[in-house]
C-alpha cells in the first residue's frame, strides 16, 4: 500500500490512506511551502492518498 511524493529531484514513498498534508510533514517538508498536484490538477492537502497516487509537490518559495 503506497503512494509517491515527488519534490524537486527527490522521491518519497509514503503509505496510502493518510492525508497529503500528513505525508508532506512526514517527509520533513513544510506543507506551507508546496502545492500538491495530482494528474496535472492542483488538489487540497486534506485529500487522502490512494494506492499508486503520484503527487508532485510544486515548491513555492523564491528568494533573493
Amino acid at each position: 500500500m503506497s503512494a509517491k511524493l515527488i519534490f524537486r529531484d527527490q522521491e518519497f514513498e509514503v503509505e496510502a490512506g493518510k492525508t497529503i498534508r500528513d505525508a508532506i510533514k512526514e517527509c520533513g517538508l513544510s506543507p506551507e511551502t508546496v502545492l500538491p498536484v495530482r494528474d496535472g490538477e492542483l488538489v487540497t492537502d486534506d485529500v487522502l492518498l490512494e494506492e499508486g497516487d503520484v503527487i508532485t509537490l510544486v515548491a513555492v518559495i523564491s528568494g533573493g
Binding site: 510533514k25 513544510s30 506543507p31 506551507e32 511551502t33 508546496v34 502545492l35 498536484v37 490538477e41 492542483l42 488538489v43 487540497t44 492537502d45 486534506d46 485529500v47 510544486v58 515548491a59 513555492v60 518559495i61 523564491s62 528568494g63 533573493g64
Partner: protein
C-alpha cells in the same frame, strides 16, 4: 474539501482565511482581492500608467497578468542581468517573459540589458569592484533600483509595481525586527511614495497574498514561469527567514498574516514615525536620481569604476 461558494472540489485551501475554493472561484477571488488592495492602499487608479518589473518568476508575471485583466494600463520592464550560473538563468528568465508577452498581443515590454547598456554583466561588475563578498546581490540591487527608477521616469509612469508577496514582506519585516532597524521599518509598506521629483511611487499589489497563493494563481492560469532561483539566491537570509515563518505558520495558521498586518496597523498608528529619517536628498549630477550623499550617486560611482576596470583589464 469543497469550494465555499459552489461546493465543487476545491483546488486550494487557505487556512489563514478558513477559505477553500474551486479553480473558477479562486481565480475570481484572486482578482477581486488584488483590486481591493490596490484601492485600499491607494496604489494607482485606472487613469494612471503602471510599470511592472518582471523577472520571469511567478509573482511578477502573475501580477502583470492580473493588472491587465483588471483593466489597468500596465507595461512590463525586464532587466537582463547577464547571470548564467551554469543554468543560463538570465537567458531562461527572459525566454519566459518573451513567451508571456507573445501570448498576449498588445502588451508593451521594455527591455534593458545591463551589459550592453552599462558595459558589463552584473557578475562581472561585482567581481571587478569587489563589492559584496563574492555575491553580486549588492551591485545587482543597486543597479535594478536605478534602472527601474530611470525607465519609470523616462516613460512618465505614475507607479512602479513589483510582485512582492506576503512571504517576501514578512521575511524582510522579520529581519528588520530581529535587528531593530527602525529606519527600515518606517519605510516598509505596500506603497512607498515618490521621494523625489520625477520618481514613480513604488507599489506592491500582492503584498497580502501568501506565496503559495501567487504560485497557485500562476499554475491555474497556465503561466509558464522560471522555477529555478537565481543561482546567487541560494543560502540567502531571506529564504531562511521564510522557512522559519513557515514553520510557525504550519503550527499556527495565520501567523504570517497577523505578523504583517499587525505591523501595518502599528505603522499606520505612527509607531515608527519618530524613526522616519528626514534625510536631505541631493540630486546626482550624472543621472539626476536622488542620493543621500553629495556628488555622484552610488550607482554612477560604481559603474564608472566598473567601466574603468573592465577597460583596464582588456588592454
Amino acid at each position: 474539501m469543497k469550494c465555499r461558494k459552489c461546493s465543487a472540489k476545491a483546488v486550494i485551501n487557505m487556512r489563514q482565511h478558513k477559505l477553500a475554493l474551486c479553480k473558477e472561484h479562486y481565480l475570481e477571488w484572486f482578482l477581486a482581492q488584488t483590486e481591493r488592495f490596490i484601492r485600499k492602499y491607494r496604489m494607482f487608479t485606472p487613469e494612471e500608467r503602471v510599470l511592472v518589473a518582471v523577472s520571469g518568476g511567478k509573482d511578477s508575471l502573475a501580477l502583470w497578468d492580473v493588472l491587465v485583466k483588471l483593466g489597468y494600463q500596465a507595461d512590463g520592464l525586464y532587466i537582463g542581468l547577464g547571470i548564467d550560473g551554469g543554468v543560463g538563468y538570465s537567458a531562461q528568465s527572459y525566454e519566459k517573459v518573451r513567451k508571456f508577452v507573445e501570448a498576449r498581443p498588445g502588451l508593451h515590454l521594455e527591455v534593458v540589458d545591463v551589459a550592453s547598456t552599462y558595459g558589463a554583466t552584473i557578475p562581472t561588475a561585482a567581481r571587478v569592484t569587489r563589492r559584496g563578498k563574492g555575491k553580486p546581490c549588492s551591485v545587482c540591487g543597486l543597479t535594478k533600483r536605478h534602472i527601474m527608477n530611470r525607465v519609470a521616469r523616462d516613460g512618465g509612469y505614475d507607479a512602479l509595481a513589483t510582485g512582492h508577496n506576503l512571504d517576501d514582506e514578512a521575511a524582510v519585516l522579520f529581519g528588520n525586527t530581529l535587528h531593530w532597524q527602525v529606519g527600515y521599518l518606517a519605510r516598509q509598506g505596500p506603497v512607498l511614495p515618490a521621494s523625489h521629483e520625477g520618481l514613480a511611487r513604488k507599489v506592491k499589489p500582492f503584498c497580502r497574498f501568501y506565496e503559495r497563493e501567487t504560485a497557485a494563481y500562476a499554475l491555474l492560469t497556465g503561466i509558464d514561469y522560471i522555477y529555478e532561483e537565481c543561482p546567487y539566491a541560494a543560502g540567502a537570509r531571506s529564504i531562511y527567514y521564510k522557512e522559519v515563518l513557515n514553520r510557525l505558520e504550519a503550527e499556527r495558521r495565520g501567523a504570517k498574516l497577523q505578523f504583517y498586518l499587525g505591523f501595518l496597523r502599528a505603522r499606520e498608528q505612527g509607531v515608527f514615525q519618530s524613526a522616519q529619517e528626514q534625510v536631505q536628498l541631493n540630486t546626482c549630477p550624472t543621472c539626476g536620481q536622488p542620493t543621500a550623499v553629495e556628488g555622484q550617486c552610488a550607482f554612477c560611482r560604481t559603474w564608472d569604476q566598473v567601466r574603468e576596470r573592465v577597460a583596464a583589464s582588456s588592454v
